[in-house]
Subunit: 165 residues, 2 copies
DNA sequence: CAATTTATGTCAGTCTTGTTGACTTTCCAA
DNA sequence: TTGGAAAGTCAACAAGACTGACATAAATTG
C-alpha cells in the first residue's frame, strides 16, 4: 500500500521511519549540546537550568507576571516559586507589586541579573550563530519551519518574533 | 563596524541577536513538545525519560555495551546503571555477559522491551512525521543541517544515518 | 457588602535522575 | 603472576521536578 503522492512522483522518502528516527536523535543530541554551555556557567553559581529559563524569559519580557511565566515554562508554581525566591533573594530578579492589579507580581532583572543573563546568553548565541552561519540562511529557514511544527501549536506565540530579514 | 559580507550584498540579517534568540526559544519549546508525548506513556509505567533513552538506543543498536551507551547518553555509569537494572529486573532489557570480554555486558531488548519501545517511538515519530510533512523536504534538509551543527561534533557519529533519499 | 475567584506564596513529602565514592570482577601487560 | 586499568555494581546524597494542603491579599460578582 503506497502513498498516492509517491505514485505521482513526489518523493516521500524523507518521511520513512528511518528518517524520522534520525530526526528524533537530532533533537536529542542537539538539545544536549545546546544546554551544555550554560550548564557549565550555572554550576559556578549553584544554579540550574530552571534558573536559566526564568532569567531568560524575564529578560525577554521584563515586567512579566508569575502566572505568565508559569504558562511559558510549563512547571508548577511551587517549582517556579523556589527558583524565583532564590533569584530574588540573591538580587538577580526584582519582584514588584502590580499597580493595576496588586495581586500580581511583575518581574524584572536587576543589573546583576542582566549580567548573568548576558553571560549565559552569549554562549548559546555563539553556538546558534556558528550553526546558522555554517548552514546558511535557507537551511535556517527550514530549521525554523520544522521546529515550529514540532512544538505544541499554542506555544508558538511565545517564541520571539524577530524583525523581518 | 559592519561585516564585509553585508557590504558585498550577502544579507547576514539571519545572524542578528534577535534571530539567534528566536532559535534558542525554538529549541526550548520544540524540545518540550517533543518529549511530552512519551512522558505521558512513561508515567503509566513508573519510568522516566532516562528509561526511554536507554530503551531507544538499545533498540537501535542491539548488543551495545554499557560503556557505549554511556558515551552516547553522557551520564555517569552509576546513573545509567540504576535505570538499566530496573529495566532488566522488569524484563524489558536482557543483559548478556560478553563472550570475548567477559567484563562487558551486551544489551538487548526483550519482546516486552520492543513493545514499549514501539509505543514510545510511535508518538514521537508521529510528531516528527507531521512536522516534516507540513514543512516539506527542503525545510527538513535545512533542519538537519542546522541541528547537526548545533550538536557537539563528536556526537554526530551517533546520529542514525538513514538510507539515502 | 458578603461570597467567590484569582494571583501568589509556602510547607511538607515524594519521585526521577543526576552526582560522588567505594567496591568487585575481569582483562591484560610488564 | 601480579598490579593496574576497565567494566560494572551498590550506596548515599542533591537538584529539581511533582502533588496536596493551606494562607493571604486583592479583585470580582451576585
Amino acid at each position: 500500500m503506497q502513498d498516492r503522492r509517491v505514485l505521482r512522483g513526489e518523493s516521500l522518502l524523507f518521511l520513512t521511519d528511518d528518517q524520522l528516527l534520525q530526526g528524533i536523535e537530532l533533537m536529542f543530541f542537539a538539545y544536549r549540546g545546546f544546554t551544555s554551555d550554560p550548564d557549565k556557567i550555572l554550576d559556578n553559581h549553584t544554579y540550574g537550568r530552571a534558573h536559566h529559563r526564568a532569567i531568560h524569559f524575564v529578560h525577554r519580557q521584563p515586567g512579566t507576571t508569575v502566572n505568565n511565566l508559569l504558562d511559558i515554562l510549563g512547571v508548577t508554581k511551587q517549582s517556579l516559586n523556589r527558583v524565583l525566591r532564590q533569584l530574588v533573594d540573591d538580587g538577580l530578579i526584582e519582584s514588584r507589586v502590580g499597580e493595576r492589579d496588586r495581586r500580581e507580581r511583575h518581574l524584572y532583572l536587576t543589573q546583576a541579573g542582566v549580567a548573568l543573563e548576558s553571560e549565559l546568553s552569549a554562549t548559546q548565541r555563539k553556538r546558534m550563530r556558528e550553526a546558522y552561519k555554517a548552514a546558511g540562511p535557507d537551511a535556517v529557514q527550514g530549521f525554523r519551519t520544522v521546529m515550529e511544527h514540532i512544538m505544541d501549536p499554542e506555544m508558538r506565540r511565545h517564541v520571539n518574533s524577530p524583525k523581518r530579514d
